[in-house]
Amino acid sequence: MMLFKNIYPYSRSVTMLRKLVLLFLLALLAVPTLVGFAQEPDGLPVDVPREDLWVFDQIFRWGTVGNYNVWRIGGSTPFHHALMLETFWNRDQETGEFIHALADGDPVYNDDFSEMSVNLRQGVMWSDGEEFDADDVVYTIETIKAVPELGQGGWHPQLVDFDVQVEKTGDFSVHFTLNRSNPRFHTLFESRWNGVYMMPSHVVSAAAEAVGGTENLGSWEWAAEDVVVLGNYLPVEADPNGYWELFRRRDDPENSLAGIITGGSGPPYALSIFYGNENIRKAIAMSRNELDVYFDVDIESFEFTLDNASKARSWYTDFPWAYPNEVSSRQLAMNMEGDPMLANKDVRWALALAIDIVELQTEYIGGVAKVTPFPVPPTAKLYNLYHGPMTEWLTNLQIDLGDGEMYNPYDPTVPDQIAAWAEEQGFAVPGEPHEVFGSGWWKYDTDAAEKLLIKAGLSRGGDGQWLTPDGEPWVLDLQSDPSENDAYRMGQAAFDMWTDFGVEVNFSTLDRNTWDQNHFVGSYEVSTPWTSFALASGDMWPQIRGRHSRYYAPVGEDYRPLGGDGVRRLRDDRLDELIDAMESVNPVSQEAENIEINTQLLQHWVENMFDITCIAFKKFVTWDETYWTGFPTAENPNYQPLYWFQGGKYAIQNLHPTS
């Protein structure tokens, strides 16, 4: 009885406690759920009417947030430059057009290219109402030249190296004087990605005073509320954790440069948002109408988008969908000092002829990227400059299979074969095969490849596998980084095809850092990087100069401290000679001569098969037209759709409400 008395009140309190705990747990589950139901299913982090807001893929999570001093080392420019910044000229990657931006005309050089004059466009206004003029140019150049910490784009050391002097020759004209000849000086101000971005001198000079002098501008933090731009958008607020950033259209879009050039005004607000690196997250976001454009996803997520966002599309409305003209290409690149066999040109050619490019492009890449036999993507302009004119040379090219047997390796019908495959799959080909699928490539001819390996001293073992001249099994190391989807699939294709050909291949899947590091010190034999020797304009010297043998570093040493691009461990006198010849040619006023030298370099590259370039870049840049329309398309290819490049501003400016 005593025990019972003691227990009863305890029992009651425990019952109460249990009820309270249950209520608490229920509340924990229910409240957020109710909150979720109670609010609109709008998952966007900003409170702006959706019909006024253009939402685009931020691609990555910002590190620095809220500092718009883009001139400093590490200043963030991707798509900021499209929304806010301007320089003299743009190069559109789709059309190859040299667009006069802040400059009112082409650069004018003196005879020895040590001076350059630029006339400036009149009527371009800063967002605070001041007119852009020559004072801004002079201030920008002198400031960047004076402050090493303003290291964006490597402009500071280049201005110092040429001891650039700039003078105002009128309110809207400037004159540059260099300490020596530089026929490409203007390219500092020609943006494909970045160019020397103009500073509002009336704002930055005041900021310099506030931070104790111009020399401290490297650590100056330009807050959103103080930003003044030549572009069409001003920053409003940003997530301190870097997931999103909101911009508003300036009050006078007609006075922004993109407004003047396109006549458009663009959406009132623009929100960049990072949905993560998981492709499916972007696809889901677009299906929820919470993303108007993403920059790229894998084919599976793209198909998910088409299935779940009825108004979504990419460059083509149907096969092959993706945007094919970003200026880069993907290679099976060989380390000339990796596997000793690879130092032999015949071995490199044998590996090329053991690749079935039609199968690679269709079965592995899905038919959605253009084919190219050298490191220049066949965009419309570059095809006309290089691939088309070189077709005859490629067709007549002969290689020696041994014992005097000459062989023509080029197959110009590759695009037609891919087109036939596409039609078999039930796809319509939207244009001429070479326009859609690129150029010809090397024949798939394992007999010829076999002869080349025998010529190089290799032999087949009893099991059919290739043996080195020493009689040891020939083992080739192939490395790839799966985060680059097309490059990785190209690597898988090479692994399969070379294995079928009897080469023992070790295929290593590496994370980006390890893969990069192996490149830096030459710890690889064959890899799957990407590059383009040509800019969108067709000029090649800026892209190729780093491969000069003066930047050579042996295997085991990091090539980067030399400043060049010595990743291939390649030293070639003829290559050096051609690179030197390019340097002194002006790519605008001497374009024909420039293209001639560039073509010679490509021919030399191909003859030696220094790498096996397979395909050009493609991007599933995809947009949903529920709210906004007017993005460039294959039917209306007025500008590049690559909004994260500086020239992407024109595509943004042309957007208008769907309704």
């Binding site: 249990r18 909150v35 998952g43 490597g154 190296d161 494909r192 997931y243 889901i284």
Partner: protein
Amino acid sequence: MQLLKSYILPRIAQWVVVIFVGVTVTFLIPRFSPINPVDDMIGRMTAFQTIDPQAVVAMRATMEDLYGLDGSLLEQYVAFWQRLLKGDLGPSFQNFPTPVNDFIAAGLPWTVGLLTTTTLISWLLGIFVGSLVGYFQHRRWAQVLERLVIVIYPMPYLITALILLIVFAFYIPLFPMVGGAQGSPALTWQYISSILRFGFLPALSIVIGGFAFRFIMAKALATTEIASDYVQYAELAAVPKRRIVLSYVIRNTMLPHVNDLALSLGAMFEGALIVEVMFGYPGLGSKLFTAISNADYNIIMGITLMSIVGIATGSLIVDLLYPIFDPRVRLR
């Protein structure tokens, strides 16, 4: 006094040594990595454009000077401690010149908020439900619950997160997909409710895994405990079952649970990388991952320092609490 000399002071000394060694190791390891922050930054700056090779060499020199990486390892180490003792973690290399403190201030509230809440919920739920199931293990509902948890427990976190994401962000699009809240911080219902809404899915994903782990642990401990003499005696004495569960079973299994809680809370400063990646939730986890990838020594040091201090302090607290929970420690 004896307890202080023989038990408390040695553990505090151990705490100091652990932190010093941990910080020193964290200082050294990234510097032995082949990734160089200057090269990494130049690589990012030249990813989309070519730069004159001579300009690259000049930029490299400028950056080494700016980053303070031009001295010997010992000089850097001494400078590091001088800064650290003043509470200055230095600038982020990859986001120069933004101070590391700013990054930590931006990410820490989200990480601590999410992980403290979810750890406590899963801890309480796991112990309570696991102990109940352990005690009533022959009941039908307990067997069903146990099997359910055994199915959930081995599921990789990634799969759980993906299922939640697809169900609640795609098929039933109730919850947002990115961020920690809507708009700028403010003491308004709209902002506070948005924190709950944005944090619900990430929190649920962590609670599910944490609950399952603690459920299994609590159930196993309870199963052992019910075989003890005092529980059996209590049952024979007709002590109410709820009292047996709360005061006999759960109380006597609390030591490992307290240990688990302290270490879990201490480790939260490392962040929850996969949660942040899967749900686009703010925090320190992905910041640490990016810093490691880019050899951003100062960020690595800032976040790891908190983690080292957190775990060491958690262990210290557990050690100091042991005499309270376990009289045997006091007696020794």
